[in-house]
């Protein structure tokens, strides 16, 4: 027996290498983990899903009926008959209780519906007093062209240990390059059709809001992070929050790349309407470098302009070990 403790860092590296190898070999479809998450979500109470009130009411309505016909199947021999006998013997009591609980549930749902209608009426009246600050119909998305930055970003993230996330990955152009460079990369994007295209091409991509996804990610769990798209649309508070989340979610020694649009180029791309009405607007490379440094990244640099990268910039950073 040896008194020597195992070299756990080496073992963890071997585990990451094994995962990368199995993903690359196609042994673990990129969609599997997402499918598992979606499947479990089906069994979670509506409160764990997004805040859709009507869906929550429907779920409450479905749940208000108490079914006393408890399943009696069992893999253990002799148990199923016992369960059936118990169910039959207790049916008179359970049905009495179930009727009362069902009545309570139904009355509660009715009360909630009435409450929902009253709240809706209040919201309508408020909207007439105070118009929406941001009407999505007033603007069109202005995605940055990531093409000129693919080589530099992939080079900066090369050798990252652990998962590499691209927020907002779009149809996966950069994600494909990251995966091709041997990185264990996945992406999120709120635009469903683009995510579908990425998934269809074999990439690991999820439909999700960037800030929601990063908020739900565990601290120090990412080996690398790429930010684009949302960095140009968020308001200043959201941009600060994004920088803080990035620093919290990237593991010590991990790396970040951010691709953004030059503020002066934004108006020419978006047009006067979006530029004036957008609740958020792009920040300069210098400002992003400042925010990332303040958030905790120890090494931050603005990359030299890439060929063909008119109007866009890239900032790279590394979190101290």
């Amino acid at each position: 027996m040896t008194e020597e403790s195992p070299d756990l860092d080496r073992v963890l590296t071997e585990i990451q290498d094994e995962v990368r190898r199995r993903r690359a070999a196609g042994d673990l479809p990129p969609s599997l983990e997402r499918e598992l998450d979606l499947l479990f979500d089906r069994f979670t109470p509506s409160g764990t899903l997004d805040g859709d009130f009507s869906e929550a009411l429907k779920a409450a309505d479905r749940a208000s009926f108490v079914n006393v016909n408890v399943p009696t199947a069992s893999e253990k021999p002799g148990v199923a008959p016992v369960k059936r006998a118990l169910r039959k013997g207790m049916a008179w009591y359970l049905e009495y209780l179930a009727q009362q609980v069902t009545a309570f549930g139904s009355a509660s749902v009715r009360a909630l519906r009435a409450l929902g209608e009253r709240v809706g009426s209040v919201e309508e009246q408020l909207a007439q007093i105070r118009p929406a600050v941001d009407d999505p119909a007033d603007r069109s998305p202005v995605p940055p062209d990531l093409g000129p930055w693919v080589q530099a970003v992939t080079g900066h993230l090369g050798g990252c240990r652990g998962r590499v996330l691209h927020v907002e990955c779009g149809d996966g152009a950069l994600l494909r390059a990251l995966a091709g460079a041997g990185l264990d990369a996945y992406g999120v994007d709120p635009r469903g059709p683009l995510v579908d295209a990425a998934v269809a091409s074999g990439l690991d991509a999820w439909p999700d809001d960037p800030l929601d996804h990063l908020s739900a990610t565990a601290d120090a769990s990412l080996g690398g992070l790429v930010l684009s798209g949302c960095v140009d649309r968020l308001g200043l508070a959201g941009q600060r929050r994004l920088a803080a989340l990035a620093a919290a979610r990237v593991a010590p020694g991990g790396r970040l790349a951010l691709v953004g649009i030059h503020p002066e180029h934004f108006r020419s791309l978006a047009g006067d309407l979006e530029a004036d009405l957008a609740p958020g607007r792009p920040l300069s490379a210098v400002t992003w470098a400042h925010l990332l440094g303040r958030a905790g990244f120890s090494y931050v640099a603005i990359l030299p302009p890439a060929a063909g990268a008119d109007g866009t910039f890239a900032v790279v950073a590394e979190l101290g070990s």
Binding site: E3, P6, L12, V19, L28, L32, L36, T44
Partner: protein
């Protein structure tokens, strides 16, 4: 120095800890009684109702804090110097969707902890993780003394029928993975099931997962069972429920690895129990888990199913790693021997009393 314990029951880690606290206090020459809200039958002869406490000059009140309780509110109003021995209150966010009624109780528990900060002389946390929560809650004087565990309580003759049952299930081959802990959302048994899916797909289609522990969240437990059913894992995931000491020992004996993917643990006693049983441990590095296991477990920063599966495969297939982890686990246990933990608690108490003396001198 009298202990105030909301619920003082047998077969409970906090209950054993409180008994050891009592013994340490007596060794220090301090008179100490148990004041409780409720207690199991076996402990009734030791306790008094907390409302019956009558103050005497120079007495201190030591609160065993692990949940919200009317006792906590009562203590807030007491004028005697107070100590808090903090075991952690699970954040309410874990229960919000599953058990809203429990969410309120847990939220209230955390509020009580925060309110006690301004009237507590000193707080003793069972881990540095918990100490950080106390500091964030505003406690000015804190120290750490690990939970006093009865490692002998980990030694039970394994239940033969359970061992035989696991052996028969293993006849088809396949690894056995065990997790011991209540079925509650913060212990993330759903992530264990996801990891099992990945493991069976990548390495071993006959692998099994044994979830040992009572269901404290019916909604969550129901969701887990339906999840396992939908994945076709009814025969591969065993919901053992609340088991006897002998049955729990059998599950450890039959395990190839102990796997814990909890999102929140205030200490993680079963991790040490697994080490005592000679079972290698794979755990997600959240909350107090890294502090409890040290370098005696494979601690993962990432619990994506593929990563957990690869880690478990590494432990199952690499005999040298496995043996080193088992040996490291046995060495780790020495840090939690009763002799060491009693000494640590006594030192924390002396620090607390010194802090009280300083505070008294400044009043």
């Amino acid at each position: 120095m009298h202990q105030f314990i909301p619920s003082f029951v047998t077969r409970d880690a906090i209950g054993f800890h409180a008994m050891q606290v009592h013994s340490v206090l007596r060794d220090m020459g301090l008179r100490s009684e148990f004041y409780v809200r409720d207690a199991s039958a076996e402990r009734q002869h030791l306790v008094r109702p907390y409302e019956s406490y009558r103050s005497r000059p120079g007495e201190w009140l030591l609160y065993q804090a692990s949940t919200g309780s009317v006792m906590g509110e009562w203590l807030l109003g007491r004028p005697e110097p107070k100590l808090v021995n903090y075991h952690n209150v699970t954040p309410a966010s874990f229960f919000e969707a599953w058990e809203p009624w429990l969410c309120d109780e847990v939220s209230e528990g955390r509020r009580q902890i925060e309110k006690l900060a301004s009237v507590t002389t000193h707080a003793i946390a069972v881990s540095r993780y918990n100490q950080a929560e106390l500091t964030a809650a505003g406690y000015r004087s804190t120290s750490v003394a690990p939970l006093m565990l009865d490692l002998g309580d980990f030694e039970h003759e394994a239940d033969r029928p359970t061992l035989e049952w696991m052996r028969r299930a293993s006849e088809r081959g396949g690894a056995n993975f065990v997790f011991v802990g209540r079925i509650v959302p913060n212990k993330a048994q759903h992530d264990l099931i996801k990891a099992l899916v990945a493991y069976r797909r990548l390495y071993d289609p006959e692998a099994r997962l044994y979830l040992v522990g009572g269901g404290a969240s019916p909604a969550y437990q129901n969701a887990l069972k339906r999840f396992a059913g939908a994945l076709g894992l009814r025969g591969a995931v065993d919901f053992a429920g609340s088991v006897s000491d002998a049955e729990r020992s059998a599950y450890y004996r039959g395990a190839d690895a102990f796997v814990c993917l909890s999102d929140h643990e205030g200490f993680g006693g079963p991790l040490l129990e697994a080490m005592h049983a000679g079972v290698p441990v794979v755990a997600y590095g959240s909350s107090a888990i890294p502090e409890t296991v040290g370098d005696a477990a494979l601690v993962l920063a990432d619990k994506h199913p593929a990563v957990v599966a690869a880690a478990l495969w590494k432990v199952v297939s690499d005999q040298d790693l496995r043996q080193r982890l088992v040996e490291a686990g046995r060495r780790r246990l020495a840090q939690f021997s009763l002799e060491r933990t009693r000494a640590a608690f006594r030192a924390a108490m002396e620090q607390a009393l010194a802090a009280g003396a300083t505070a008294g001198a400044s009043r």
